[in-house]
């Protein structure tokens, strides 16, 4: 499925869109990390929590759990929350 990558993470993917597969959000993030080592830890902490300033949307709806099931046609958008200075 298609995963839209925010600018801050394109040093890993070198483009704004990636392809990844998996039956859950956790699987898709693991697949992304296999392709782009290190990218998952920048989004997800060691307790499997989505980091405070990262938002993940599935078909436009915010995802809160890595266990969320996914279909092959789903579209995932990773975003940076509006924060910082």
């Amino acid at each position: 499925m298609k995963v839209l990558i925010p600018g801050a993470l394109r040093s890993y993917t070198e483009r704004g869109e990636a392809e990844a597969s998996g039956a859950t959000l956790a699987d898709v993030l693991a697949d992304l990390d296999r392709q782009y080592p290190g990218i998952r830890f920048r989004m997800i902490d060691e307790q499997d929590r989505i980091r405070r300033h990262i938002r993940i949307f599935v078909n436009g709806e915010q995802a809160h759990a890595l266990a969320q099931p996914l279909a092959p046609t789903d579209e995932i958008i990773v975003m940076q929350a509006l924060s910082g200075g």
């Binding site: 801050a8 993470l9 080592p37 290190g38 830890f41 920048r42 989004m43 997800i44 902490d45 060691e46 307790q47 499997d48 929590r49 980091r51 300033h53 990262i54 940076q80 929350a81 924060s83 910082g84 200075g85």
Partner: protein
């Protein structure tokens, strides 16, 4: 408790020996918005700028491996992304990310586990252990790498120990940008002899490579009204070991400047002889590379609400040449008034030259240098982001 200390009598000045040969100095400058390398010429007068590296990243520390004198490690994160460590084996021309950055052990589902917010302190391991590094994090955690910083493993004896977790307190108990584990020190005579400090949580020592730890707090003061026997209330800001006398350590603490001479277990407050209008509160402390009686501090205003500025807006370095018995103000070349910046705990450093070069970076993004052990100061860079760390490295 003694308020000032007298150096122990020894033949000649304590720990003095002949000057090491001079090497080109590179200043490793870590800032809130990236890292810069300033390459000095042989005279330490002209500086070539290399940077920014990791523009936009919060870089807490950049350190050179003194064993190969070419490997750099950088602790970085951004405002949005999680923390990581980058590594360079060509003095910053190229960087590669750690495969497994410092991260706490995962806890069972339902338990409240901690996550590393940022790696704060990087310390190369013992000379006999090439590839070994230590890292301190916020919130407080201690980590070790045995493969040059590629993968990092937690010290469960600290990070998961119930007693240590209690002493660490919560994020609310820590310094404003997060409680920190810092000042990781490896005894050059014994790789199993380690020290570290926590803000807050006190000073701790291990003699068995981190399997067990003991607090080292005797003699240290805490904020009035709190129990000085409880490590929770101790806030060491920076600890340095003297290279030529590893039994001597200096400490800049929330509650003054201290020295300890092992095997004594008691810190002695040596900041009592600082001028009263300046006080002995600050963050950084630097020791002379060849003279254990000499150290430098950068006092800040720790009165009332703790403005954390230079006292009276007049920044100055203070030096002791006698183990803390007396202090000398060193401000020639620094602004005389209306300069309200200060220097963070990792942002002051010494090189190995003779005379020693001293360097510090300010919260206002200025980089200052002295080629004569602090007698005169020159600003060598302005308009950088807030400076978090400055290391004077001497690469091959």
């Amino acid at each position: 408790m003694a308020r000032s200390g007298t150096p122990r009598a020894r033949a000649g000045a304590r720990g003095k020996r002949a000057a090491a040969p001079a090497h080109r100095v590179v200043l490793l400058v870590a800032t809130r918005k990236g890292a810069w390398l300033y390459h000095g010429d042989a005279a330490r007068k002209a500086w070539r700028i290399d940077g920014p590296h990791f523009l936009g990243h919060v870089v807490s520390h950049v350190a050179l491996d003194p064993r190969d004198r070419r490997t750099l490690l950088a602790a970085a994160k951004t405002g949005h992304l999680g923390p990581t460590v980058f590594r360079s084996t060509d003095l910053g021309r190229t960087w590669k990310e750690a495969a497994r950055p410092p991260a706490f052990a995962r806890v069972p589902e339902g338990a409240q586990g901690r996550a590393v917010d940022h790696t704060f302190w990087l310390a190369p391991g013992h000379a006999s252990e090439p590839g070994v590094w230590y890292a301190g994090t916020s919130p407080q955690g201690l980590f070790r790498s045995e493969d040059d910083g590629v993968t990092w493993a937690p010290f469960s004896s600290i990070n998961d120990d119930p007693q240590y977790r209690k002493w660490m307190g919560t994020v609310q108990d820590g310094t404003p940008d997060g409680p920190k584990l810092h000042s990781i020190i490896v005894d050059p005579r014994d790789p199993a002899h380690l020290y570290f400090a926590m803000s807050g949580g006190g000073v701790h020592e291990s003699r068995d490579l981190g399997r067990t730890w003991q607090p080292l707090l005797d003699g240290l003061e805490v904020v009035e009204g709190f129990d000085r026997a409880d490590p929770t209330f101790h806030d060491p800001h920076c600890i340095r070991m003297c290279a030529t006398d590893p039994d001597r350590l200096y400490q800049q603490n929330h509650c003054g400047i201290y020295r300890i001479d092992r095997p004594s277990d008691t810190w002695v407050r040596i900041g009592g002889s600082m001028p009263k209008r300046v006080g002995d509160i600050g963050f950084p402390l630097v020791v002379h590379p060849r003279d254990a009686d000499t150290a430098w501090v950068f006092p800040m205003d720790g009165t009332s609400v703790w403005p954390r500025t230079s006292p009276d807006g007049a920044p100055a370095v203070y030096a002791t040449r006698n183990g803390g018995r007396t202090w000398q103000r060193l401000a020639a070349g620094l602004p005389e008034k209306q300069a309200w910046w200060t220097v963070k705990r990792q942002a002051m450093s010494a090189d190995g030259g003779d005379p020693v070069g001293l360097y510090f970076g300010t919260t206002s993004g200025e980089l200052w240098a002295s080629r004569d052990e602090g007698r005169g100061w020159t600003c060598i860079a302005r308009h950088l982001p807030e400076i978090y760390a400055v290391e004077a490295a001497e690469p091959a």
